[in-house]
């Protein structure tokens, strides 16, 4: 069953003014419950606009967003409930930490949802664990944490609301390579355990290729592709023509194939490439 369905979605900023700009143009797609979807596209392609429409932070100029089959704007007074179901982690979420302790910061969402103290406590602890925070972090001030830990605390605050759909906008920007790897594995593990739906916006083709099952490609406010990761990265030339790239490792495998090596080029990680080449050499 589709958890999110988007129908002919259009968003025009500053409609009727001389600054009018169409950020999203007639976009339709469906995300199935349990999907792990990557969203890629050049800067200004409409990625962030799109995800803000998915949890009702922006209201479409035209078209509809359905969550669990219901139009999210059918009753504008209930839009808050949509935001509990669709959790959003913004870019550089660590700038939004504000409480005295990490614990209180993570508890802010669940409390606002009206959970009891006991429920909140349980959510805070499990969210902190999913995000890779140790229990002694919980009683520190969020401002005494390192950059990577702050980011994790901020993500835990959204996970604690137990959203059916978790949207992450560039969660790894500015992290060092290991920080990037660890955070991505944690998100993937969280997905595997909770079986919820994840939408990940990223500029890193390597990251998206590694952890997403499906990819939505945006270009100048239009949906360009929506397909499995494999099928999307097969269309290397089209991606390059809209300012995107394929992961370096995938490109290497494509180049080997073009040079007459009969090898599987649908490869997205160094480990897969290594195994493929060892296999090829062994036969």
């Amino acid at each position: 069953m589709s958890i999110i369905k988007v129908e002919k979605l259009t968003l025009v900023y500053g409609q009727g003014t001389s600054f009018e700009k169409t950020a999203l143009n007639d976009v339709s797609f469906e995300i199935q419950s349990g999907d792990f979807v990557g969203v890629i596209g050049h800067t200004g392609s409409g990625k962030s606009t799109l995800v803000q429409l998915l949890n009702g932070l922006l209201k479409p100029t035209d078209g509809k967003v359905f969550l669990d089959g219901k139009d999210i704007w059918a009753n504008p007074k209930k839009i808050r409930n949509v935001r509990f179901k669709v959790g959003m982690v913004f870019q550089y979420p660590e700038y939004q930490l504000f409480e005295e302790t990490v614990y209180k910061d993570i508890a802010f969402g669940p409390k606002n949802m009206g959970m009891t103290e006991e429920e909140t406590d349980q959510k805070v602890r499990s969210a902190a664990e999913f995000a890779g925070l140790q229990s002694d972090h919980l009683y520190k001030s969020p401002f005494d944490l390192s950059g990577g830990e702050k980011r994790r605390a901020a993500i835990a605050g959204v996970i604690a609301m137990d959203p059916d759909v978790l949207i992450l906008d560039e969660p790894t920007a500015g992290l060092d390579p290991l920080g990037r790897d660890v955070l991505l594995s944690q998100i993937r593990n969280y997905h595997n355990m909770r079986k919820n739906t994840i939408v990940l916006v990223s500029h890193s083709m390597e990251d998206v290729a590694r952890i997403c099952d499906k990819i939505l490609v945006m270009d100048h406010g239009n949906k360009k592709m929506f397909d499995t990761t494999e099928n999307v990265f097969l269309r290397a030339e089209e991606l390059e023509s809209i300012g995107l790239r394929i992961p370096q490792i995938t490109k290497i495998m494509h180049m080997l194939k073009q040079n007459g090596v009969n090898i599987n080029a649908n490869i997205f990680t160094v480990e897969q490439a290594f195994n493929e080449i060892i296999n090829y050499l062994g036969t």
């Binding site: 990577g148 083709m205 050499l281």
Partner: protein, 283 residues
């Protein structure tokens, strides 16, 4: 001959308001010499001291002990502050935080205006700087209509117009899409080659560090490694231990070589990787 930048035994700790500074040093005895015209990449994990070091190069931070000399001038010398900042320009991560004017050419002129340069000379410099970053045709545009890569090139033009001898860039591509990253990197390379501007690039992207003449790896506030990209990226395991990474091309060849295949010690890009692999795959 004297080096353009000399960093002599620099230690640095942040002073906490009202408290005794903790005994934790962010920079822990750094010694480096950088020549005029070099293109140096600085890599290191979050918290390794990269940005702190960058801010020492134009007197934003002063060493707790030790000295930083720019073209022979000590950054601690108040009388040399303006002379040092004219020689060393700084470009930061987020282009949106660095743009001050509503029209591109006004924005690029801002730094020069503050230096009290004659308007006719400013006009000439602004146009030359915009040509150097391939943004001349956008000189009358509004910066908020530009892509991330274009905005970052405008920020670089604003620095170049002040005719510095050295540009320090602190993760200039962290927020850009793949094409924006390539645009900024080729602009940096061009300025280094054609105008002999010394470039110091701080980055988490190893694919960018590969393009430098020299790579410096910082770890816990000390220089862990200093060499050509080929020397540095041959150290796959030591780098990984320090939360860093190598390009995917380098990693693949490294692991295959570890299995005994006759391959070079270090390849830096996909072309070198494919050439090396074809030798063992096409027997």
């Amino acid at each position: 001959m004297e080096n353009f930048i000399q960093i002599n035994d620099v230690y640095f700790q942040y002073e906490e308001n009202g408290k005794d500074p903790s005994d934790k040093y962010v920079l822990n005895g750094i010694n480096l010499n950088i020549d005029k015209g070099e293109f140096v990449a600085i890599v290191g994990h979050n918290g390794s001291g990269k940005s702190t070091l960058a801010k020492h190069l134009n007197s934003i931070y002063l060493p707790t002990t030790g000295d930083v000399l720019i073209d022979g001038m000590n950054t601690k010398d108040d009388n040399k502050l303006f002379a040092i900042r004219k020689k060393v320009g700084l470009v930061l991560q987020n282009p949106d935080n660095q743009i001050v004017a509503g029209v591109v050419e006004d924005d690029v002129a801002f730094g020069c205006e503050n230096l009290g340069i004659h308007p006719r000379e400013i006009r000439k410099r602004v146009y030359e700087a915009l040509e150097a970053v391939d943004m001349y045709e956008y000189r009358k545009s509004s910066p908020d209509k530009l892509s991330g890569g274009q905005k970052q090139r405008i920020a670089i033009a604003g620095i170049i117009a002040m005719q510095p001898e050295c540009i320090v860039l602190d993760e200039p591509t962290a927020m850009l899409d793949p094409q924006g990253r390539e645009e900024v990197m080729s602009t940096i390379q061009k300025l280094n080659r054609e105008q002999n501007i010394t470039v110091i690039l701080i980055t988490h992207y190893m694919e960018e560090a590969v393009l430098a003449d020299r790579v410096i790896v910082l770890d816990l506030g000390t220089v862990f490694f200093d060499g050509t990209p080929r020397e540095v990226f041959a150290q796959v395991e030591p780098l990984k231990k320090r939360r860093l990474d190598v390009p995917q091309a380098t990693e693949l060849v490294h692991y295959l070589k570890g299995c005994g295949y006759p391959l070079p010690d270090c390849v830096l890009n996909e072309e070198e990787c494919v050439q090396a692999l074809l030798k063992i795959l096409k027997r």
